[in-house]
């Protein structure tokens, strides 16, 4: 394939950039419709309780309150996965986490709705609650869901090859427990939904429903609304306005989306619900706290002989994407390198905390942190350079990994090479001043899941294109722009194929009434799948234009070149050489495209005129389009994409998760310094090479790489959801400690293009794969700087300092001893909770509040 593109590969401002920089673009909360009411949700104050009585009468009598909605108004269960329909719009009989949805008040204003929430009387029977996954797995009674014994959502046990023989063969083996604490998306836009019913003109009753929502998955939302409301999908229109970031947090149906629709039905008026920031934290669906017991064996030449992992995920109170998350953890653990023997035991456990779901790098991030850290340790054990041990274990594509994943394009070798070169790894590593170090790590991710979560054979993406008489191109796609550049990618591909300028292309996206089905923006599938569908739709419509233009230009269609808003004859056209513009396929049968009677009469006169003019040397895009419309009638094309059968994975139980038509690869080097006095870690620079197949829009690709690395750095150093008895202690953006500009390092993105054989123009994903490498790269750099291995993320000053003191055999540090009687003796153990273990009011034996309060230390009065 030639690199001679006119649109793709060039840095391009997003087609919606002006809407965003001027504030003119509308996000869901910016919308209002006449007669719109406001909904506010009552949340549970208990982590686990039975609802014995709800009395909404006082709230209903409140002036300005239109309706109060409770669980029995919409009793059908739903969930994003077909195997996990365990949620209700509002709690039916039980609440399962602090923040669970109990009732919704619909009122004329937010302040009245808030007032009315306090007038709802709810009686709870408090049940014992489970906050720690390993404790939760021992539960016999008071299960979180009656159908899930031992509070186990799902467990998988996979063995590939012979792990025991692998370890026997190894020269060095490392074994350790790693913990990655819980993080959340914290997208800047809080979730918002506006739901409105239309009155049916025939029945005179509420008919069609329109929902505007901040969602990554309009089609799934339409599907789940239809389940809960018992309406046909065709009666529900989901429109996705601009979305202010998702990162996975909007990739499933969030309670407010269902509640708003149920509330609009009961209140008989349009209802908008927008979460407060605190509610966004409760809605969560982030990356679960993960406990990883990992064992890896290598030979002295660096080859990995076996990997054994036991992974426990603290999934929260509902299934959400949990079954997929726990499978991704195993499936992608073994597919970055050539690993002959793998044993994986994964447990997805229910606890009384908000449900965890999909977050950028879904399922792969925490195990990657453990694996890359351990590989670094093994490199040190056998005396090998950490970059080299990674190079020794590369796959030899095209190949199928031991767990059945097909790998074609594989840019990892080049990624490692480039980061090593740019960071001066060989010259600088080990020679930096004390307290400063370099670390390397790799990662990868799917370019869309080869098997959709709703098992069906329908295409994952379909795109329609319509071209108007003046050469305006309209692309209809269900793909969801969430800030990643989906609409721009679609426009670029259409313009590149049609050889027209980007300004001609208008993208109509993510409106279930207008756009064909696309399963949404998640698992980094859009460029690969919606991109391929766009490519096919554009090629189809181009074929029609080429057929008409060829007639006018007196040559065969395959000799035409579409470029720069013109249709030209290939230089080889007259010589008869069969070299042709490859994306134009020969037309099959001209008779089959001939038009109607009127068309033929019209065409007769035009043909006479054309004969007089003689064949044209070249045509403008408009002329060619006019010729095609005159010849064929309407000028439309459609294309769809379904992953090929060979890419859909093996046959074992759970084999459906992990396979992808193509994988992206990343290698990163981080440079950090560690303050040995305070334990504070500063990241100075990250070199991040990412194999995205082909960079369709380099500005966007770099933006995605930088954004992923930055978010990984947040998880590595500061971000953590801190729990105390099922209560989130830091439900605010400042307390959650998302890094600001002053805490953010320089990130040098390096684009590697491996040109995938099946990607659109060779492109693969670029938005998620880079995240996972950042955390272990920083961990390994900390080791290089001060010689301690951190096994628990984030690497806060407390954790770094206690690791340093343990290394120096010093007494464990207690920063708050004696000053505050409620202060923790240990930091953030079990379930991220500070120090309280246990169920409801019962306190852990070491809980300071059960001991006698020590006398205040000096200084405190």
């Amino acid at each position: 394939m030639t690199n001679d593109f006119s649109i793709i590969g060039k840095p391009t401002a997003m087609i919606d950039a002006a809407e965003k920089t001027t504030g003119a673009g509308k996000y869901t909360d910016d919308l209002s419709v006449p007669g719109m009411l406001v909904g506010k949700i009552l949340h549970s104050p208990y982590p686990h309780a039975r609802i014995t009585r709800i009395d909404t009468s006082r709230a209903e009598k409140c002036e300005g309150v239109v309706a109060v909605v409770v669980g029995k108004d919409a009793p059908n269960p739903y969930g994003i996965l077909p195997v996990g329909h365990d949620e209700y719009a509002l709690a039916l009989d039980k609440v399962r986490y602090v923040g669970d949805n109990v009732a919704c008040v619909v009122a004329v204003s937010e302040s009245i709705a808030e007032l009315a929430l306090e007038l709802i009387d709810v009686e709870y029977e408090v049940l014992p609650a489970y906050f720690d996954p390993e404790e939760s797995m021992k539960a016999q009674t008071d299960l979180i869901h009656d159908s899930k014994p031992r509070n186990l959502e799902k467990d998988y046990h996979h063995v590939f090859g012979d792990p025991d023989a692998g370890f026997a063969e190894a020269d060095a083996v490392a074994e350790a427990r790693f913990i990655a604490n819980e993080v959340t998306h914290a997208a800047m836009e809080p979730h918002s939904t506006l739901a409105s019913f239309e009155i049916d003109p025939h029945t005179g009753k509420p008919g069609r429903l329109t929902v505007w929502s901040s969602t990554q998955v309009p089609y799934y939302l339409q599907h789940k609304l239809s389940l809960v409301l018992e309406m046909p999908m065709s009666q529900i229109r989901v429109i996705k306005p601009l979305v202010g970031g998702g990162f996975g947090g909007k990739s499933e149906v969030i309670p407010l989306e269902i509640i708003a629709a149920v509330a609009a039905r009961k209140a008989q008026a349009p209802v908008k619900i927008t979460y407060t920031r605190e509610e966004v934290f409760w809605a969560h669906r982030g990356r679960p706290r993960t406990i990883i017991d990992l064992k890896t064996g290598v030979k002295n030449d660096g080859r990995i002989t076996g990997v054994k992992a036991r992974v426990v995920q603290d999934g929260g109170a509902y299934c959400s994407y949990g079954v997929v998350t726990i499978l991704y953890s195993g499936a992608l653990l073994g597919a970055l390198y050539d690993i002959p023997n793998i044993q994986y035991d994964g447990y997805r456990v229910l606890t009384n905390k908000p449900a965890c779901g999909a977050m950028r790098g879904h399922g792969t991030v925490n195990v990657r942190f453990a694996f890359e850290s351990q590989l670094d340790e093994l490199a040190a054990k056998i005396g090998m350079d950490p970059a080299e041990i990674r190079q020794r274990n590369l796959l030899q594509p095209p190949c199928v990994t031991v767990n059945g994943l097909r790998v074609q394009s594989y840019g990892l070798p080049e990624c490692i090479e480039k980061t090593v070169e740019r960071s001066g790894w060989k010259q600088r590593r080990g020679k930096l001043p004390r307290g400063r170090g370099l670390g390397i790590a790799c990662s990868h991710y799917v370019s869309g899941a080869a098997n959709s979560i709703i098992r069906s054979d329908m295409p994952h993406s379909t795109v329609n294109i319509k071209i108007d008489r003046d050469g305006g191109v309209v692309v209809y796609t269900g793909a969801s722009e969430i800030g990643q550049g989906s609409d721009t990618m679609t426009a670029q591909i259409a313009a590149e194929v049609l050889g027209c300028s980007l300004g001609r292309v208008r993208v109509i996206a993510a409106d279930t009434d207008l756009t064909p089905i696309d399963i949404g923006s998640y698992s980094s599938r859009v460029t690969f799948m919606a991109g391929n569908a766009t490519l096919r739709a554009a090629a189809e419509v181009k074929k029609l234009i080429a057929a008409a233009a060829a007639k006018r230009m007196g040559c065969a269609a395959e000799y035409l070149i579409f470029r720069g808003d013109r249709v030209l004859r290939n230089a080889k056209a007259s010589s008869g050489d069969r070299l042709a513009d490859r994306s134009v396929r020969p037309i099959q049968d001209e008779a089959s495209v001939s038009g109607r009677v009127e068309g033929q009469i019209l065409r007769g006169s035009l043909q006479q005129k054309r004969k007089d003019e003689g064949p044209k040397e070249q045509m403008t895009f408009e002329e060619a389009v006019v010729a095609a419309i005159d010849f064929h009638g309407a000028l439309t094309g459609t294309g769809s994409y379904a992953p090929p059968q060979e890419a859909r994975g093996g046959k074992h139980k759970g084999a459906g998760v992990g396979p992808s038509p193509a994988y992206s690869y990343s290698a990163q080097v981080a440079e950090v310094s560690v303050d040995e006095e305070t334990g504070e870690v500063t990241v100075h620079k990250v070199w991040a090479a990412h194999d995205c197949g082909r960079a369709l829009n380099p500005v966007s690709v770099e933006g995605q790489i930088i954004g992923s690395v930055w978010m990984g750095m947040g998880q590595a150093l500061t971000e953590e959801m801190i729990w105390k008895d099922g209560m989130l202690m830091n439900p605010g953006l400042l307390e959650y400690r998302s890094p600001s500009s002053v805490e953010s390092p320089e990130i040098e993105p390096i684009i590697v293009e491996s040109v995938d054989p099946e990607g659109p123009f060779g492109a693969k994903e670029c938005s998620e794969g880079s995240l996972a490498a950042t955390i272990p790269a920083i961990a390994n750099a900390i080791y290089d700087a001060v010689g301690v291995r951190l096994h628990e993320s984030p690497f806060t000053p407390e954790r770094v300092l206690s690791a340093l003191r343990a290394k120096n055999n010093a007494k464990a540090l207690n920063l708050t001893e004696g000053i505050d009687p409620t202060s923790p003796t240990r930091f953030r153990e079990h379930g991220g909770a500070l120090c309280f273990k246990g169920k409801g009011p019962e306190r852990h034996a070491l809980d300071p509040s059960r001991r006698e309060a020590p006398s205040a230390a000096g200084g405190a009065d």
Partner: protein, 163 residues
């Protein structure tokens, strides 16, 4: 609560409004005036998505009483475009990838506008320090720095993007 009549001057135009004394400037802008460019990302001045200029000073409108802004000149993101076209800063944010999802962008535009009004050639450190009042979850800030440098260069060369 009984409403009061106030007059706010926003983007060079005066608006007479009846508002509750407790109404926040952000809510008045978004709900009463439909100026939805300023965003609500949190409720406690931690994210900066609601930043507007009050007499040229970048302020977070989510924790500012609308009634306290009477007689002051308020500029929102809707008032930044020049002569019906994009200001250099807005154009540069688009070209250099400074905006991804765009939700934080209006706040950043206002913060940078205030910075450049006071300090037309800020150092990298000064830009970082100024931007730390706002949060972004998409970009990692790097491409914003490039956008700001490009906007300063464009202004210096007198390249009016709105020509």
């Amino acid at each position: 609560m009984k409403k009061e009549l106030i007059e706010l001057r926003i983007n060079g135009r005066s608006h007479e409004l009846a508002i509750e004394p407790s109404a926040l400037l952000l809510d008045v802008l978004r709900q009463d005036l439909q100026l939805t460019g300023s965003k609500r990302g949190c409720d406690d001045s931690s994210c900066g998505a609601c930043t507007v200029l009050v007499d040229g000073v970048a302020m977070m409108s989510c924790t500012l009483l609308a009634g306290s802004c009477e007689g002051l000149e308020i500029t929102t993101v809707e008032g930044v475009s020049e002569h019906g076209g994009l200001a250099a800063l807005q154009k540069a944010y688009g070209d250099w990838g400074g905006a991804q999802c765009g939700y934080c962008t209006p706040g950043f535009i206002m913060t940078v506008k205030a910075l450049l009004a006071e300090n037309p050639e800020p150092s990298d450190g000064e830009v970082r320090a100024a931007l730390s009042s706002n949060l972004c979850r998409c970009t990692g800030y790097s491409q914003m720095y490039e956008a700001i440098r490009a906007a300063i260069a464009a202004e210096r060369q007198g390249v009016a993007v709105a020509e």
